[in-house]
Symmetry: C2
Subunit: 482 residues, 2 copies
Amino acid sequence: MALASSNRPLIHFTPQNGWMNDPNGPWYDAKDELYHLYFHKWTDHGSVIAPDREGEGIFSGSVVVDYNNTSGFFNDSVDPRQRAVALYTLHSEDAQVQELAYSTDGGFTFEKYENNPVLEVNSTQFRDPKVFWHEPSNHWVMVLAKSQEYKIQIFGSTDLKNWVLHSNFSAGLYGNQYECPGLMELPVEGTDKKKWVMILAINPGMPSGGSANQYFIGDFDGYKFTPDDHQTRIHDHGKDYYAFQTFSDTPSEDGVLGVAWASNWQYARHVPTDPWRGSTGIVRNHTLAKVPGNPETDLLTLVQTPIFGDSIKRQNLHKTSNHTLSKNESISVSGNSTGVFDIEVEFTLSPKELNSRQLQLSILSNKVHGTQEEIKLGYDANVEAFFVDRGVDNEFNKNVFFTDKISAIAEPLKTDEDGYKTYKLRAIVDKNLLEVFLNDGVSTITNTFFFSSGHLPESVKLGASADEIYTVDVTVDELSLE
Amino acid sequence: MALASSNRPLIHFTPQNGWMNDPNGPWYDAKDELYHLYFHKWTDHGSVIAPDREGEGIFSGSVVVDYNNTSGFFNDSVDPRQRAVALYTLHSEDAQVQELAYSTDGGFTFEKYENNPVLEVNSTQFRDPKVFWHEPSNHWVMVLAKSQEYKIQIFGSTDLKNWVLHSNFSAGLYGNQYECPGLMELPVEGTDKKKWVMILAINPGMPSGGSANQYFIGDFDGYKFTPDDHQTRIHDHGKDYYAFQTFSDTPSEDGVLGVAWASNWQYARHVPTDPWRGSTGIVRNHTLAKVPGNPETDLLTLVQTPIFGDSIKRQNLHKTSNHTLSKNESISVSGNSTGVFDIEVEFTLSPKELNSRQLQLSILSNKVHGTQEEIKLGYDANVEAFFVDRGVDNEFNKNVFFTDKISAIAEPLKTDEDGYKTYKLRAIVDKNLLEVFLNDGVSTITNTFFFSSGHLPESVKLGASADEIYTVDVTVDELSLE
């Protein structure tokens, strides 16, 4: 397989050639049972929506299925499930305005609306419309960013062409500007309730550096989002998770699916991949659950679950159950030939107090001229935090914005009466991308990493810094494409 | 000077031996014109307040001057300016309660109140009282943390002994728990107005890892803090700035002075210093100013200015004015013998677009057996961010929580009609501590760094990645103690 020598991700989307940033207009065509995903400049099957004039650009936006032909663009020749309408930002030096285009061929080509723009407010910083149908209030809703006024604006429409401003939302970290807002209605696990989640991206200005997403939980009546509290939650604790967008019109049994750009504006233009730069994160399903923020207080929290398509083949390389690690042993699994792993470690930590209580999972490369490279992740019981260290000694890693060490916290899944605590760590490794799911997805860490040329993830090694502290169940799968 | 071979900070406070974390009860004695600072366990001049029973601990708190003897602990033998009362947390396995102690000798020894505790609510997570006199409402105010309920609580008292709950405040990043709250009234630069700032520390759970402070700006009527907005501001963007506390009863002409612990719970217990661990940051004066968050919106922002005591001697090592850097030159300043620098770089950036537009300031160690170590900071005009890279290739730097690369943003101080932008970067380097002030303190980055044994900051080097991009004014001072 030609890919085996390339660091191109296998189970994540990358552009064939050139650059990508925000994923765009993901939607589900229920007739052909096809998930659509566009990316910056709305390409993939050729350029689907292109600017008409030099100096203009097509920026982020979304696609909805106008099943009932509220827009009037469709006739009976187009199956209701394929009546795709795109709302996107047209960027020029003078202004950012919202335009509309519609497709009569199932989303492969789009025709621009003749009376564009459909929304303009005389601003150069007004972008990233995310549109959806809100059934209870019987109208279309658009959330978009008045970026440099630190506002998410909520508009409504009955025909996708005429839009009325209903409310503003502003919260979280200030950063430099707001981008790529989103609103999604999610089930609360263990109840029959649903709550709404507002996604808000800032760039730059995250405390961890550059671009990232935060979220807020609350209620939405079709006109206004009212958060439950004034706290800020972090969408993903890694440095490479931005411009998240949900898929429109997915079957309800598939959940609420979304996808992000797995990079950071601080270094995205310089990552050592060729002939492309940028990829998406894995598609994730989203729910809410009450989980402990600390021993006294449970917090409603976003739960993210990775979704693997049918075309991904899984081969088990290793399975260990209920094994207590000694300091001088390690569980080593080698021989991966695709550079793609799905690793699950459930561990139970003894309450024994020691100076060092670290569980470490290493992702090791193949050897090239005798050199082997390694990234590390794990859990430190003294610091009570999960960690990722993607630092490698090569030229790209000298980039002063490519932060090596990232951490995140999670309370134990359970604590037994003797004080033994159980946690889960899942790592999906795809060539140069690491997605970590803590405790079944209550916290995630998405980080790119860049081994030197020719080095690809080939083996994993699990060890502990002390005897009989960690008892583990380990599964290591190799993933490939059928 | 014996210190020259040690990495003990010179112009920052460190304990003579052993451990320190939170600075405690800083206050000003107006009679003897003496600034007092205690640290964890309330020591320095011996143990000032110690627990009575094994298994108990004295945790953070504050000292106020009870000028009018509202508490009744004092008689005329104690000068009103020295009527020091300490409120602090007594920690035991069963509860955290607030106790009171008073001093009749100007704060060198304290006597515990016989009817302690003065405040208990049957909680093991209730701590860090910060007390001050609120003149308009004519009572004492205490802010403290109901840590694991994510609440800052505001109490009032007329005698420092009886306390009534008035309100709760909750905002910002959730993290794991709240600690060390603070409220300070600050002048707004360029106006005759004052606004209140709420400080809220979280640990762990900062997106940058571990412990840090956030702040909120609003109004306070003596009973309730009302924030101006629901956004979160970051107090210091480095990994080593926690448990900030203002000095009580300072002369108004000295401003609003505060001090923090310059470390992070993620690695504080392991830093390679001996025979002490931990230091404070430099004392800073605080004001508010409207500064651009982006080109469209000005945000009220905390401005921090370092304060140097009279005992600090300053010797200029280098001064350059209006010099345009070429790619192949650098401004090098060597020969520092104290390991302590105060470096100011004001730079003007040309609007010329190039692939690389980085200004880099290196802090270099002396050579030990031919090896020299370096930390880097600077500004990248393409990424539009300031950066610090404290990564050094030695054993301690392998600590998976000792993040190497930190960044922060600031809009230009001014942009001229031709698009030239001016910024300021100030770096105070003290042996193993770096405090960076951007644009006169609108953003700060405080980071410890750990060269290998025997290596101390000795020289600095300033360079640019391209020709004629940066025009600089540079001042490098060496600091020492008289």
